[in-house]
């Protein structure tokens, strides 16, 4: 092949390589998923590690979830304010904020925050353990690193995201109600009536919660996979954390689109 042809084909070659990389990553994440499922079937996990991770990932994430959720609700009211005021649709503010928060904004923003805080931290921890031979040390001590480290972290991430989403939904609606009162004079009771007027149902809550579980699985798998496959010392850990954040964020949006499409 001459130089000109190679140059012309370069974008295709890069696209092919990127596709191979993506397929490889998906395959490896599938293997991690299969190993986790196998341990879950046999209830092979470390209880103390699970509790430690639930505390570290779930409880310690509460402040960031509170701040994100309260301001998310308030931002939704600010965006809706011109329309609500122009058409005098104060009674629909509760429904609008509830619909957007429960089905989309609550699970999505909580997942992005948890991905940045918990997913990145999980990859950094597992990656450091990999490069400092702690994973090998576990295996040398006849301890299965997947059962001891990966399964408790995976469960903790999924549980953290599920409960954080529930919490964030409630707080975002609380923030929206009081922002509506403060900014455009919609009383909290009017907001509440709009919320429970019958336009919103349990299906809207479940829609968001199903998404939160799928997002949790996505973050758990990518953060554990990239953490365990670190090579190249400290710079490798940095690359793995970056890969986790990018993959999780991109994956969350793709999965969100698919789930929204399927669940309606």
């Amino acid at each position: 092949m001459n130089g000109t042809a190679a140059l012309a084909l370069a974008p295709l070659t890069r696209a092919r390589d990127a596709l191979y990389d993506l397929a490889g990553t998906m395959g490896q994440m599938g293997i991690v998923a299969a190993r986790i499922v196998l341990r879950l079937v046999h209830v092979d996990l470390d209880g103390r590690e699970l509790l430690r991770n639930l505390y570290k990932m779930g409880v310690k994430s509460l402040p960031i979830v509170v701040v994100t959720a309260l301001f998310t609700g308030a931002i939704m009211v600010i965006q809706a304010a011109p329309i609500v005021q122009r058409y005098g649709a104060q009674g629909l503010l509760g429904w609008g904020a509830g619909f957007g928060t429960l089905r989309e904004i609550g699970p999505l923003l909580t997942a992005l925050m948890i991905s940045g805080r918990v997913g990145a931290n999980n990859t950094a921890e597992l990656g450091t353990m990999t490069v400092t031979e702690q994973i090998d040390a576990l295996r040398a001590l006849a301890i299965d690193p997947v059962a001891f480290l990966v399964v408790p972290r995976f469960i903790a991430i999924v549980a953290t995201l599920f409960f954080s989403t529930l919490y964030a939904d409630a707080l975002a609606l609380f923030g929206a109600a009081y922002a509506g009162d403060a900014l455009i004079g919609v009383e909290p009771m009017t907001f509440y009536n709009g919320l429970v007027s019958g336009l919103l149902g349990i299906g809207d809550v479940m829609n968001g919660l199903v998404k939160s579980v799928i997002f949790g699985i996505m973050i758990g798998l990518s953060s554990c996979h990239f953490g365990l496959s670190v090579t190249g010392g400290a710079p490798g850990v940095g690359r793995a954390v970056n890969a986790t954040v990018v993959t999780s964020a991109a994956g969350i949006f793709v999965v969100d689109y698919l789930v929204s499409f399927l669940l309606g």
Binding site: R52, T128, M129, T132, E133, Q134, D136, A137, R139, A140, L141, A142, I143, D144
Partner: protein, 244 residues
């Protein structure tokens, strides 16, 4: 007895090339060689942490490559191992690190665990350090905690990867003497990788030298000291002139 036959491994470039070696039971075997010559990889192959491309490893008649994951788990109860980077668990205290194999592998009663951990800490001159976090220790102290963890189960086969790295000469000699005394008392089979050749040669029964993935020497400590092989001579005596 550890028996290695024609072991080869490549990570894109060859790391082990046709290595054959026998380590008799109850022997303190010193493995020496320049950096990146395959010593740590060889130790990981013996414990089944890595799979060879070709060749075989057998320990007490058990072919390591033939073991399933479940069999490997029980097979590894035979080993204690000190890693080159110590591999202490960051999220545990020093005492919990040392107690970890006893709690997880052997289910020893808690009172005995505490007593054995204290005894190990005193043996490596770290009495009173049990509640500290590994991150708060110096490199040498971490190494000693690693030695304590590797020996706490009283396993019959122990591998030490650089047990004296980062230690001052006095502590280094104490650690070598301690490991030698324990090896003799418990009749352990020990493979010790160390760059501290002078001290290593005071405790070993046999020496093997790795160079570019190959075992270029295998003999008694005395034979290593008087070897005419230019590579062994240069490395053992720390000469600047030579093929290395």
């Amino acid at each position: 007895m550890i028996e290695i036959q024609n072991l080869s491994k490549s990570f894109g470039h060859p790391v082990l090339c046709d290595v054959s070696l026998v380590v008799p039971m109850g022997c303190l075997y010193g493995l020496i060689g320049p950096g990146a010559s395959g010593k740590s990889v060889l130790l990981k192959m013996i414990t089944g942490l890595m799979r060879p491309d070709t060749g075989s490893v057998s320990v007490d008649g058990q072919n390591v490559q033939a073991l399933t994951d479940i069999e490997l788990a029980s097979f590894r109860l035979k080993f204690g191992m000190l890693f080159q980077n110590n591999a202490l668990f960051d999220f545990m205290t020093v005492a919990d690190n040392i107690a970890f194999p006893l709690r997880r592998m052997l289910e020893v009663p808690e009172a005995e665990i505490r007593q054995r951990v204290e005894e190990r800490l005193r043996a490596v001159s770290l009495g009173g350090f049990g509640e500290r976090a590994p991150s708060g220790l110096s490199g040498g102290q971490k190494k000693r905690v690693g030695v304590a963890r590797a020996t706490v189960t009283r396993a019959p086969i122990i591998f030490y990867d650089e047990p004296a790295a980062g230690l001052d000469p006095v502590t280094s000699q104490k650690i070598f003497d301690l490991l030698r005394d324990e090896q003799r008392r418990a009749k352990q089979t020990v493979i010790m990788v160390s760059s501290d050749i002078d001290r290593l040669l005071t405790v070993t029964d046999r020496i093997g030298m790795m160079y570019r993935g190959s075992l270029v020497f295998d003999g008694t400590t005395d034979e290593a000291l008087h070897s005419e092989d230019a590579r062994v001579k240069q490395f053992v005596h720390g000469l600047t002139e030579g093929p290395l």
